[in-house]
Point group: C2
């Protein structure tokens, strides 16, 4: 007699397995967080192998044949709840994707990434792309192999995009970027002919401790739960989480640049509010995870830009800021401050770019990555291609590779297909914010009073609580009534800068 396990029994096994894998993955995340915040320099070597071991365990467990059998079996059961079924379907999808990569390939990629990252650091120190070039070539070879292993339709880059943004394709991105390129170019041109904006006072002397304290105040005010997270310092700001009750953000403080810390705090808080809003009961399961990188970025950008660079919000917050820095800002009007924090000025570094020129940084990387993955550009030609496009699209001259094609860490980690999600984030953010304003009576008034709780509530209801249940496009359709529509973003920008630069 064959004993058949009940669906609930099987589902319990699946949950236990997934949660143990999550334990290992999140443990690795703790080690990574520590690496970026507190690790003493000599500890790096052994830390790398500890991280590698944890990743290996998580990958092995997830891609084990038992995982597959369990998922296939559950997939055939018809007495699961909707949520259970959704978890199983998503996990099976993940499983089928992951098992295409042999442990040997995963190890090769991980080792290549370590080498590539260290070479990238050296290349930056010596300001020499040539140092980076061989390892980058190797990495691109591996990414092409990865695309072939994963499989794709139409374009190999689609296989890479899919890892960060399920459903995103070259044809979708080509369309979206072609829709924004012209209008943004025209906006940049109009702005360069508009009245100049002074932002010099943002680079006065802002003592670190006071900046930190003010940042912490903002984060709290925006709804970050300090019982379920914390902020620390690191070289590059980031958000990570070990479960939805432990979400960590980091920032950096520059005494001579008020903007540096403040908007990084708001940006990371946006990411963190999303993570804190994911359902804890689905720990380790797809419904407890974020929808996509584009959606994650929509949350950070909505808070950073649509709120954190809005006139409305600063109406109440600015007087408080002035009281913290009376010498630096006491004589600066809200109008002047608002203009300064929104100053548009095409420049070299993506992470320092304004809301308009930012997307040219992304589009350049997107076009370049496509060519590299297609094999239509050789790695040694990257600097020339890069510099040419920065001149043509942004009107800036790249003085050296450090401030050019060596500026981002992404490629050294093997993250190809990642950059477009930054722009998608801005586009979704504008659409979500417009919908929230439409759906929530008095939303703008409450923001004008410094109360963003109604907005957070809308995001929790429409985005956060769903985890990975819906794709980006499904989420967008459900919460805004439309799939991604670039006109919200363009409308928001044109309206904002028309006001600031008085065309």
């Amino acid at each position: 007699m064959v004993l058949t396990k009940s669906s609930q029994e099987l589902y319990g096994e699946y949950t236990a397995r997934m949660q143990k894998i999550a334990d290992v993955k999140y443990s690795a995340a703790v080690l990574q967080w520590d690496q970026e915040t507190y690790l003493p320099p000599k500890g790096a070597e052994f830390r790398a192998r500890q991280l590698a071991t944890l990743s290996e365990i998580a990958h092995e467990w997830f891609t084990a044949a038992e995982s597959g059998q369990l998922l296939e079996e559950l997939y055939g059961r018809h007495d699961l709840t909707d949520d259970q079924r959704r978890n199983v379907i998503l996990s099976l999808e993940d499983y089928n994707k992951q098992k295409k990569f042999t442990p040997a390939f995963v190890r090769r990629l991980s080792e290549a990434s370590s080498r590539c990252f260290h070479t990238w650091l050296q290349a930056r120190t010596t300001n020499s792309f040539a140092v980076f070039s061989p390892e980058l070539q190797n990495m691109i070879r591996l990414k092409k192999e990865e695309a072939e292993l994963a499989g794709y339709e139409q374009h190999p880059y689609n296989a890479l995009l899919d890892q960060y943004e399920k459903g995103a394709t070259v044809s979708l991105l080509d369309k979206v970027f072609s829709e924004v390129r012209q209008p943004l170019r025209q906006l940049l041109d109009r702005i360069s002919g508009g009245r100049p904006v002074d932002d010099q006072f943002l680079r006065g002397n802002y003592p670190k401790q006071q900046q930190w304290d003010f940042g912490m105040e903002l984060i709290r005010q925006l709804g970050f739960d300090f019982e379920a997270g914390r902020q620390d310092l690191s070289e590059h700001p980031f958000t990570t989480n070990f479960n939805s009750h432990d979400v960590r953000i980091t920032t950096r403080v520059d005494e001579h640049d008020f903007s540096n810390m403040t908007w990084s705090c708001i940006h990371e808080t946006g990411h963190a509010l999303y993570e804190q809003g994911l359902p804890a009961e689905y720990y380790g399961l797809p419904l407890g995870e974020y929808a996509s990188l584009g959606i994650h970025e929509s949350q950070s950008r909505l808070w950073e830009n649509n709120i954190g660079r809005s006139y409305e919000w600063w109406q109440t917050v600015y007087p408080r800021l002035q009281s913290v820095f009376p010498k630096q800002l006491g004589a600066v009007s809200l109008e002047s401050f608002y203009k300064a924090i929104n100053k548009v000025q095409p420049s070299l570094i993506r992470t320092e770019a304004d809301e308009v020129s930012y997307h040219f940084h992304v589009m350049i990387r997107y076009e370049l990555e496509k060519k590299l993955i297609e094999g239509n550009l050789s790695v040694t030609d990257i600097p020339a291609w890069w510099n040419e496009h920065y001149a043509a699209w942004l009107g800036v001259t790249v003085p050296d590779d450090k401030r050019g094609c060596l500026q981002d860490v992404h490629w050294s980690h093997g993250s190809f297909g990642y950059f477009p999600t930054y722009s998608l984030g801005s586009f979704y953010a504008a659409q979500f914010f417009a919908a929230a304003k439409n759906q929530v009576a008095g939303l703008e008034a409450s923001i004008g009073q410094g109360d963003t709780r109604p907005l957070l509530h809308w995001l929790r209801e429409n985005i956060h609580r769903w985890g990975r249940r819906y794709t980006s496009e499904e989420l967008c359709l459900r919460s805004t009534g439309k799939t991604l529509d670039i006109s919200f973003f363009l409308g928001y920008l044109l309206d904002k800068y028309d006001n600031i630069y008085k065309f």
Copy 2:
């Protein structure tokens, strides 16, 4: 044809296996460190399960049949180097001990420990031993079971002692403690009849930041490598390590108690110097691990007491301290300071005890634990037994259980047999320090100049670099020419207090 692997090939497999287990164990240590230092409150729940999963993996891998086969096979090989052979012998010992405990028993113990710890916290809050009693009873039942599973000669408590201090037995400890009890009792009596010592000025107002900075200065001066470690704040000071290049210590700061932070810094630095001195090339192998808890504690106590409470060392350090706290200590002479930091005063709390009365705290716990494991005292009778012995042995009246038998966390974690290693640490420390002074010309003079490098060098050569190669007693014999001899400790104390209290 059976292919036989070479010994070096097998040894390579053993090393790889042990190091992967170490990766997992040290990852757990990172999570634990974070739990004590930075974890936001709501993160505790999921953190507990992440830690449980990592412990389970480490235990499963280590006790797997393959581990045993590999170790047995290596044990039979005769072409290993001395170091290799030593590693294999020690790992096989560990394996044979560990495999006596089924995963189910390990889980039961771990779950009982979580419950017991939480009940202990509640019992402290409500100041009620009755709340703790049922869980403690259960824990003692499990520890007896553990002793039976592990096996022992003569006394079940020996099985528990052995986990912390290999080779330590009830008969050895009975002998050692009987040798110190009388002389220490007489010393306490003489001191209580001696001239009173004023230490009121240590409880003035010492601003936190200045204390912290001074503590960091001391730690650095004592030789702690901040490139290979760091100090943070936690509720209870501790040392942990993730490899010998990443050793973390913690402390706490009390504005109204200068002693609280300072000697915790020195104590933990003693532990940390040991860990930083273990051979990194033996990462994950027995020769890269500490010898025993008694030896570990000998290092912390040697630095805390034999150096950190010595007149010689403070000769150079005290003027610097006075310059940091001129208002608080400017008018206090070195003599008065020295007496104050060595004031003897029997009291209720072990962790705050002076060097003389400390060992009565340990002896009371030792006698009590023996009785509990023998089954000669019921858990409900602990408070009465405790209070009676504090009155008889230390002359203090225990006002409540919080300041009595609920003061230590150890039992709630299932750590029975741990306390004696604290006293052994002091005894070994005195013997090691005497040997170092004997063997290193000018050692005391250099300490008098605030230079402890020659002492650290002696410890590195005689203790640290050997890892677990020798047992405590072997280490002691090799480095001092004698096995543990209590007369060094007694001589040190009698000499010191004779000087301070002028009998």
